[in-house]
């Protein structure tokens, strides 16, 4: 993939959080630009081509939602992850309505943040709509809604199929529980029980049991990852 496609803009006014964000993104291979206030952030986002940006909700001069609104007015569609310390319930809706693409409430685990940035980066890269996904010996037909492993069809409930398809579209990347709840169940809150783990566990049994190698991996503290061995 071309170098510029890994270019991320971080707009964050708290110095320590900004440092941590930049470190975290750099160590997973992104080039990072940092803007410490809203004006700087807006100027950079308008002039350079970023693959993803993270925007702090509350910023000096211009606040995060305003930045995204202005960018969208200018026709700049760089995916934006809003990082907010404000309560989630209504603010999430406002952020997404202003043109934000994802929303994460502070404090967050950095791996969760990274998982979201990865998902958004992939999204801006691959707008091609594939109908057949292949991960190792797993084959997912999105049109027929059929999953096969080593050519044998796996019986899945509709929701289980959706979960598998979401994992498969993000193959090789970590997907958090909250992301699953959001994209598979269309629910916007953080699960407080381990119900998602157990649900994924059942899908995993259907996919992985009796196979040569496991495909669905649990990433401790964060979520799950669908990947074939190297």
């Amino acid at each position: 993939m071309p170098g510029y496609a890994r270019h991320v803009l971080v707009i964050e006014d708290d110095a320590e959080t900004a440092d941590q964000l930049v470190d975290c993104l750099k160590s997973s291979g992104y080039d990072v630009d940092l803007a410490v206030d809203g004006e700087d952030g807006l100027r950079r986002a308008l002039t350079a081509d970023y693959v993803v940006m993270t925007v702090d909700r509350m910023l000096p001069h211009i606040d995060g939602i305003e930045i995204i609104r202005r960018l969208r007015e200018e026709g700049i569609v760089t995916p934006a992850l809003i990082l907010s310390a404000l309560g989630e319930v209504d603010d999430r809706v406002r952020g997404l309505r202003a043109g934000g693409d994802d929303y994460l409430v502070k404090p967050f685990a950095f791996r969760e943040m990274l998982a979201r940035v990865d998902a958004l980066a992939r999204r801006s890269r691959t707008m091609v709509k594939e109908t057949m996904l292949r991960i190792g010996d797993l084959e997912i037909d999105l049109l027929a809604r059929i999953a096969r492993r080593r050519g044998r069809e796996i019986e899945l409930l509709p929701r289980e199929f959706r979960l598998l398809a979401y994992l498969a579209r993000n193959a090789g990347q970590v997907v958090s529980r909250t992301m699953l709840l959001q994209h598979v169940w269309d629910l916007h809150f953080d699960p407080t029980t381990n119900v998602i783990d157990v649900y994924v566990g059942r899908v995993r049994r259907k996919i992985d049991s009796g196979q040569d190698y496991p495909l669905i991996h649990t990433i401790r503290g964060i979520g799950f990852c669908l990947r074939a061995p190297e």
Binding site: G87, E88, V89, D90, V93, V105, P107, A109, R123, M127, K129, T131, L142, L143, R145, L157, R159, F161, R162, A165, R169, H183, V184, W185, D186, L187, H188, F189, D190, T192, T193, N194, V195, V198, Y199, G201, R202, G221
Partner: protein, 480 residues
């Protein structure tokens, strides 16, 4: 001092005075009319008597000439009934002929008829008389006849009427003012009692209550309402205090643990794997705190905000089916059967995310505390008074006396203290139920707990989100 400062500045008193003034104006008008018509009537009667007497004298003159008239006048003068009458007959040159006065009044108008003579109208000092009502006649032979009647009695009568009416008016004024003042003082006293209680509450705390008089009047009604409002506020403050105590407790415990752990790490030489596990433990403790913290925030947000603007027609059965489907593997793992009866669509006006979260909590609780009887029944029904969701387990249930408490934040039954959970699940359910005007009803499932969410009958016509809820399809890569 008759009126305290508060009474004097009271709006009730001002209002009372306005009423008193208006009533007085009306009463004075009425009494004035009574006075005027009475006095007019009396004077008319008097004038009529004068005219009648004049006519009588004229007839005596016509019958008996001048001598006949003089004879009648002289008869009248000795008659005690005509004591207060004045007769005077003079000739052409105004010289005395007969009567009980001697001088012709100087200022008598030249015309015949009725007029009033004041004292000063008499020529000589000696003949000064009280005011008279007189009738003057010019007889055919040039004699002048003056017939008068003393106005003294009439005037006294008029005065008496005036005094009577004025006393009535003054008495009325006093009574009205007294009534106004006493009403104002009563109102002001009751308001002052309420004010005093408010000041006392601001000064010392929520323990004070407004005293009731037991009269059952509107003041008592107001005091009762204010008192129950204070009860409610006190209850909320108490709940809040308990919540903060619990927050402090629930947060301090893991924080203390973490602090101790970090202190040890700082002071002791440990190998790398020890450090790593220590950091990992600390992160999961922190995550626990953060989860508790955001659950609390979420509950307060739900409680504080009017989110009904975002309410949509949602299908309760659909949500419950999704929740049950999500929990199926968890239940399976614990060998519990989830029995769902939710067939037809049951519409409620609400927020899908919040309803899903609340119902998840209930199902989660039922699975966790459902006991060994391996069955949780979940049903959605459309009842006469609205949609009802019920979740029944076969566990130990909740004792009746604790059913009200379990909805409180951080409240945990004694037996589940050591199990995982933060005691916030049912508080969230309660907050969501409240927002949806739904009632939570807990009954004995003997054995077990049956918990119901009773929703009101949906009334508002709101846009439906049935279509938007469905994620486009597995192919639609992302929402844009």
């Amino acid at each position: 001092m008759l009126l305290s400062k508060t009474v004097r500045s009271s709006s009730t008193l001002k209002l009372a005075f306005i009423y008193v003034i208006a009533f007085c104006a009306a009463i004075f008008g009425l009494l004035g009319f009574v006075y005027w018509s009475t006095v007019t009537y009396l004077y008319e009667m008097s004038d009529r008597a004068l005219s009648a007497e004049g006519a009588l004298l004229t007839r005596a003159y016509e019958a008996g000439g001048r001598d006949g008239l003089v004879a009648l006048i002289n008869r009248r003068l000795t008659d005690p009934y005509f004591d207060d009458w004045v007769y005077l007959l003079v000739d052409q040159s105004f010289d005395y002929v007969a009567g009980n006065v001697t001088n012709w009044p100087a200022l008598l108008p030249g015309r015949e008829g009725l007029s009033t003579l004041a004292s000063k109208d008499w020529q000589s000092e000696a003949a000064k008389r009280p005011p008279l009502r007189v009738s003057y006649q010019l007889l055919p032979d040039g004699h002048h006849m003056l017939l008068g009647r003393d106005l003294k009695d009439l005037d006294r009568f008029g005065e008496n009427v005036t005094i009577g009416l004025a006393s009535a008016a003054i008495l009325f004024l006093i009574l009205a003012a007294a009534a106004g003042i006493s009403t104002s003082r009563r109102s002001v006293a009751r308001i002052e009692a309420i004010n005093a209680t408010s000041r006392e509450i601001m000064r010392s705390g929520l323990g004070e209550r407004i005293p009731l008089r037991g009269t059952g009047d509107e003041w008592d009604g107001l005091a009762e309402n204010l008192n129950s409002m204070l009860d409610r506020i006190e209850e909320l403050v108490e709940t809040n205090r308990q919540v903060s105590d619990n927050v402090a407790h629930d947060l301090r415990t893991p924080l203390t643990r973490m602090r101790g752990r970090l202190e040890r790490a700082c002071n002791q030489q440990l190998d790398l794997s020890h450090y790593r596990s220590l950091v990992n433990d600390t992160i999961s403790d922190l995550d626990e705190i953060l989860t508790t913290f955001s659950s609390l925030l979420r509950i307060s947000q739900i409680e504080a905000r009017d989110r009904t603007a975002a309410f949509r027609n949602t299908d309760l059965s659909e949500i419950v089916r999704e929740v049950v489907e999500l929990f199926e593997p968890t239940a399976e793992e614990k060998a519990i059967r989830l029995q769902l009866s939710a067939g037809e669509a049951v519409s409620v006006v609400g927020d899908r995310d919040l309803l899903f979260d609340a119902i998840s909590n209930l199902v989660d609780n039922a699975i966790k505390h459902g006991g060994d009887r391996r069955e949780v029944r979940i049903a959605v029904a459309r009842c006469a008074d609205g949609p009802v969701l019920s979740i029944s387990d076969r566990g130990p249930g909740i004792p009746i006396e604790e059913r009200n408490h379990v909805l409180r934040r951080f409240y945990r039954l004694e037996r589940s203290r050591n199990r995982p959970g933060n005691g916030l699940g049912l508080s969230l359910v309660a907050a969501v139920a409240n927002l949806h005007n739904a009632r939570i009803v807990m009954t004995d499932n003997s054995p077990g707990l049956r918990i119901e969410l009773r929703f009101p009958i949906p009334q508002r016509a709101v846009p439906s989100t049935f279509d938007q809820q469905e994620q486009p399809s597995a192919i639609g890569v992302h929402r844009s």
